[in-house]
């Protein structure tokens, strides 16, 4: 009886961590039966490179999602930043100018996205939608003018970005830094409060626009970091780089248990769990002999199972 009670109360946690733990168990125990293993250096490296961009983006996105906002310009931002880094890398033989330029642009976008909703009285998703379209158009024009489908780094040595240990290091650092700011400083606490109830936050003296912009700035830095790794894996960028990333972030966060309405229940760890689970499925399922096109449907089904465990609204009217 008591264990039943415990299961009920912790259903949410079971759903979230359970997915990850189950995956780890299955992918550790079963592959050896087929002569494969997850825990080899090469497989783990592949896992790392599969997860790095998504994880870096998702962790930063927690700040935005805790406000209750969704950002659909992420993908195109990654695309543009990768392009800039490669292009400037080729002209200046260094990655630094590109990175700096990207940071500046990202900050501008952050300020606009963070303030547009309240200043102009429009839904915050609109300004990110507009950026997605504008950046997409700019990217297409750029590549049309360059007359090529993609560009690659010619002289700069970007091999460090292919190093899985470096990826792991950066991921850990970002997790610690964002985790600190989100959980132990007013930046994260204000973001959660604004997402939970903006009126209350305002009446407690929180400057809404300022702290929304700050949240977007945290996200912006992680986007630039992720773009470095996106570009760094192949040393190139193209018009289609980053397509659909915002959706992957959304799926990863939902999978990790992040509520879409934000608020007090938001946690940075959800981003990590969600993106890890997502990538584990990508890498682990083939080890079990699953065909590539079957991986997709299994991911879809697992997604549905996890959300049914974590996001159900039990009583009252249908959820919105």
């Amino acid at each position: 009886m008591k264990s039943n009670e415990m299961i009920k109360q912790n259903k949410q946690k079971i759903g979230i961590y359970g997915g990850l733990v189950t995956c780890l168990i299955i992918f550790t125990v079963l592959p050896p039966l087929r002569g494969q293993s997850l825990w080899t250096v090469s497989k783990l490296s592949t896992l790392m490179s599969d997860v790095i961009v998504l994880a870096l983006l998702s962790i930063g996105a927690v700040f935005i999602y805790s406000l209750g906002n969704i950002d659909i310009s992420v993908g195109k931002q990654v695309g543009i930043y990768s392009t800039i880094i490669v292009a400037l890398g080729n002209t200046t033989d260094s990655l630094l100018p590109g990175i700096l330029l990207c940071i500046v642009i990202a900050l501008v976008i952050a300020v606009i996205n963070g303030s547009a909703g309240d200043l102009l009285n429009i839904h915050p998703i609109i300004s990110s939608l507009v950026f997605m379209m504008v950046l997409g158009g700019v990217s297409s024009i750029t590549y049309t003018q360059l007359g090529t489908r993609n560009i690659s780094l010619r002289t700069v040595d970007y091999s460090i970005f292919k190093n899985p240990l470096f990826m792991f290091l950066v991921l850990v650092i970002e997790f610690i830094v964002i985790g600190y700011f989100f959980n132990y400083t007013k930046f994260g606490k204000y973001a959660k409060a604004i997402g939970a109830n903006q009126q209350v936050a305002k009446q407690c003296g929180i400057h809404i626009i300022k702290y929304k912009i700050i949240s977007y700035i945290f996200f912006a830095i992680t986007i630039v970091t992720a773009s470095l790794f996106q570009m760094g894996y192949t040393g190139s960028a193209s018009d289609s780089t980053g397509t659909g990333f915002e959706m992957n972030v959304m799926v990863a966060l939902i999978l990790g248990g992040m509520p879409l309405s934000g608020g007090m229940k938001s946690k940075v760890i959800y981003a990590l769990i969600g993106s890890l689970t997502y990538s584990l499925l990508n890498i682990g399922l083939p080890l079990l002999g699953v065909e590539p096109n079957q991986v997709f449907i299994i991911k879809a089904i697992i997604f549905l199972i996890v959300v049914l465990l974590t996001s159900r609204k039990k009583y009252g009217v249908l959820p919105r």
């Binding site: 700011f181 132990y184 400083t185 007013k186 930046f187 606490k189 204000y190 959660k192 409060a193 939970a196 109830n197 009126q199 209350v200 936050a201 305002k202 009446q203 407690c204 003296g205 929180i206 400057h207 608020g263 007090m264 229940k265």
Partner: protein
């Protein structure tokens, strides 16, 4: 009023998971009587009738209406068969017409093959409104154009549209103006005269005592007792009812007993000729150690004064000063030691989906941080201190606010400002929806605050509370100060009411 029992319940029970709302309740309603149901929040008075009117199902027990077993599936079905209920919350649907509101759920009656005849619906709705002498509402118009009170009138018409045998009115009169209440009381009398029954659920003692033929008092899901017409007419009935509602002697001391209006010299908060929105040229001086009450009808502008004093409304003229500092935004206000408890507790004062700790610490975070770090231990100790000092009933500071009772929630919204150490507190409807026992504790707290030298601006729609607690009482009418009263043992509600209307 006849002796015939038209509705009764047998061992009615209702649980919400582990919470027991009704425990084996047996209640009887006679034909043609006006029965009042009184009780604290959580006593079950609304629950019984919401089950009877088809809004929810009971967990156990049976109901009988007109001697037949009664099991309605929805409010529409119940209304059709003869029991209609007007709920406490605003139950109208915005952005659509009045007619669509009145006939919500009954569209089929005005449609053929699934196509609605809008003209027919409007005509029927208007006829219905006129029959209750409500001439100022046009059914074809969008309901957004009408006030909250008119919305309640429309709900009443909706409830009456199927000619119910029993009409249940749940806390509706608080939303109505004098005109609206007249219409409602007239309706209740008419129903009684036609041998129909009315169940009046209310917190308003005066109204209950005046309007009802019989009273039932509930507490914690149980029926404590009934009072008949003779007992209602007796002199000490109010005290008796209060005793039954709370279950213990709450003692005579409820509001302040002293008449000491002294306060410190220093002006804590001053509004100088402020104009904002409908408020024009309003001035007020609040001293340390003083309680100023602001009262009036709900649309008189008094709630706006609170918002203006806290910096929530932009000023067109004049200024709000605290000492030497001009208050322009609520950030200013907080930094200068002003706290604000909004009347919309669940939407503006508290984050329901958040812990007690997070709610209490939110205004403090700025002052708690050390080089960006906010210590979780400090947060915990601060909130625990407040939980203890207010005796907030909870398992831990991590508990979510929406699991607390109304009174405890209100304590949390007070705790925010005591934790912050605010010296000036603006409270709007501080004891609304709070149980008697808790109210008493709050009045004691407010009195203590005055003794500590804090400045309090109390805005309330409860006259007795204002009379009982304020040093100075400002009555507002139509956005202007109507009259200022000083604290005195001779001050009566009747003296004040004429300045409100």
């Amino acid at each position: 009023m006849s002796e015939k029992v038209i509705f009764r319940t047998e061992e009615l029970c209702k649980n919400y998971g582990p919470t027991i709302a009704l425990k084996n309740v047996d209640i009887e309603i006679r034909q043609g009587e006006i029965r009042g149901l009184v009780g604290e929040n959580g006593s079950g008075k609304s629950t019984i009738m919401s089950i009877a009117s088809g809004m929810q199902k009971q967990s156990n027990g049976r109901m009988y209406f007109k001697d037949k077993e009664w099991n309605p599936d929805s409010m529409i079905e119940a209304a059709k068969e003869g029991i209609a209920m007007i709920l406490q919350e605003a139950n109208i649907i915005p952005h659509v017409s009045v007619a669509e509101n009145i006939f919500a759920g009954r569209e089929k009656e005005f449609s053929k093959f699934g196509i609605i005849n809008v003209k027919k619906m409007n005509k029927a709705a208007n006829a219905l409104l006129r029959s209750y002498q409500i001439d100022h509402i046009d059914a074809s118009v969008n309901i957004d154009r009408y006030s909250f009170e008119d919305g309640k009138l429309i709900e009443i018409v909706r409830a009456m549209s199927e000619n119910p045998e029993i009409l249940v009115v749940d806390e509706t009169t608080t939303a109505l103006s004098l005109e609206g209440r007249k219409i409602l009381y007239r309706l209740i009398r008419e129903m009684a005269n036609c041998q129909k029954s009315v169940v009046l659920i209310s917190h308003d003692m005066e109204e209950i005592i005046e309007q009802c033929d019989a009273l039932t008092v509930l507490r914690d899901g149980d029926i404590i007792g009934h009072l008949d017409q003779k007992e209602i007419a007796s002199v000490s009935v109010e005290k008796k009812i209060r005793y039954m509602m709370v279950g213990r002697e709450i003692g005579d001391k409820y509001y302040r007993e002293d008449y000491d209006v002294s306060h410190q010299e220093e002006v804590a908060l001053e509004l100088k000729n402020v104009s904002s929105g409908s408020i024009k040229d309003f001035s007020l001086k609040l001293h340390k150690g003083q309680i100023i009450g602001i009262g009036g009808l709900s649309g008189s502008g008094m709630h706006q004064i609170g918002r203006i004093a806290y910096g929530l409304e932009p000023l067109e003229h004049g200024s709000v000063q605290s000492g030497a500092v001009e208050i322009k935004t609520c950030l200013n206000a907080i930094e200068n030691g002003i706290g604000y408890i909004s009347k919309n507790r669940d939407t503006e004062a508290l984050i329901l989906e958040g812990s007690i700790k997070d709610n209490i610490c939110l205004p403090l975070l700025n002052s708690m941080e050390e080089a960006t770090f906010i210590s979780p231990r400090k947060e915990k100790s601060m909130s625990n201190r407040e939980i203890e000092s207010f005796s907030i009933k909870c398992n831990s500071s991590q508990q979510w606010v929406n699991t607390l009772s109304g009174g405890n929630k209100q304590k949390v919204s007070f705790a925010k400002w005591t934790a912050k150490g605010s010296d000036i507190i603006i409270m709007d409807s501080p004891t609304r929806g709070v149980d008697i026992g808790v109210k008493q504790a709050m009045y004691q707290l407010i009195e203590k605050m005055k003794e500590e030298g804090k400045a309090i601006l109390m805005i309330s729609e409860e006259l007795s509370e204002l009379i009982g607690m304020s040093d100075e009482l400002i009555i507002m009418k139509k956005f202007k100060v109507s009259k200022v009263f000083q604290r005195s043992p001779d001050l009566k509600e009747t003296d004040i009411i004429e300045y409100m209307i």
